[in-house]
Symmetry: C2
Subunit: 166 residues, 2 copies
């Protein structure tokens, strides 16, 4: 509004750009029809080795911004792959969309994840997630209220931790 009041010509330019973009919607990703039976989202980029063990693919669906403050991404863990231990200052929601995997909080037994499961990791709770040794895991990950921070990355999940029956 500051621009609208003080710089009318620039404001007209911004308005024209908005109209050219088709209004205020932000279509973050639109690629036309995808095969009915294939993955919902593309694999994206390799997750950084500093934060993951094994092969992990990460696709950003909604980047961090000051309007939504809600980072959303798709993550594919190939069999045996997992995140490092980490925590989210404002918590994290996981929606399991395919495969099976593990979710574990510090000091707690591993939980087995299946397609359709929903996990809420509470703010600040140290945890990891990943595939089972023989099956891939795909989940959507949502971090709300990112004004508090997105993630604090910690040490890798050791093979002993990963293969433990607990």
């Amino acid at each position: 509004m500051h621009i609208l009041l003080t710089r009318p010509l620039q404001a007209l330019g911004v308005l024209a750009l908005l109209l050219a973009l088709g209004g205020s919607t932000q279509v973050v990703r639109s690629r036309g029809p995808r095969p009915a039976q294939g993955p919902i989202f593309p694999k994206g980029q390799r997750g950084p080795a500093a934060n993951f063990t094994g092969t992990v693919w990460v696709t950003s669906l909604v980047a961090d911004d000051s309007t939504f403050q809600c980072v959303t991404g798709n993550v594919v863990f190939e069999p045996g792959a997992r995140s490092n231990w980490h925590r989210h200052p404002s918590g994290q929601i996981l929606l399991v969309t395919d495969g099976s995997g593990y979710y574990q909080e510090k000091g707690q037994p591993k939980r087995i994840l299946h397609k359709g499961d929903v996990i809420k990791a509470l703010p600040g709770v140290e945890h990891w997630h990943g595939a089972t040794p023989k099956q891939a895991l795909t989940h959507v990950a949502i971090v709300p209220n990112t004004e508090k921070g997105v993630a604090v990355w910690l040490q890798p999940v050791t093979d002993q931790e990963y293969y433990s029956l607990k």
Copy 2:
């Protein structure tokens, strides 16, 4: 913490309950393995006729709470079904997981939605979404920052609006 300081016996009870529940994770939904090719989430309940035209199924994945302030749900629109016009004070993220449908903002042409599309409806922008006349649409809907409100429901989308080429 107030309880811990003043009511130790009750606090022990709460602690025991938390331990029995397996710690601080909130597994909102876990139902064991689901068929690899079927829908990710169950259909849930019929969406209220006051807010929708046609047959719509809504499953709550994450209810509103003061920790996440991020309502998440799965919505299935059967062919021809659509939401009323509505707006979200803090905006909405749609993740299209199956089928095809429409998304339209007031005064803008309809956009066709496909599996894998991501839409960000900006705060306060009047819009509707739904299936195409011949194909169902399934999407995850995320409303962040619900302290500002979740949704303001408006008038139905008329057949004229729905079947318009614009």
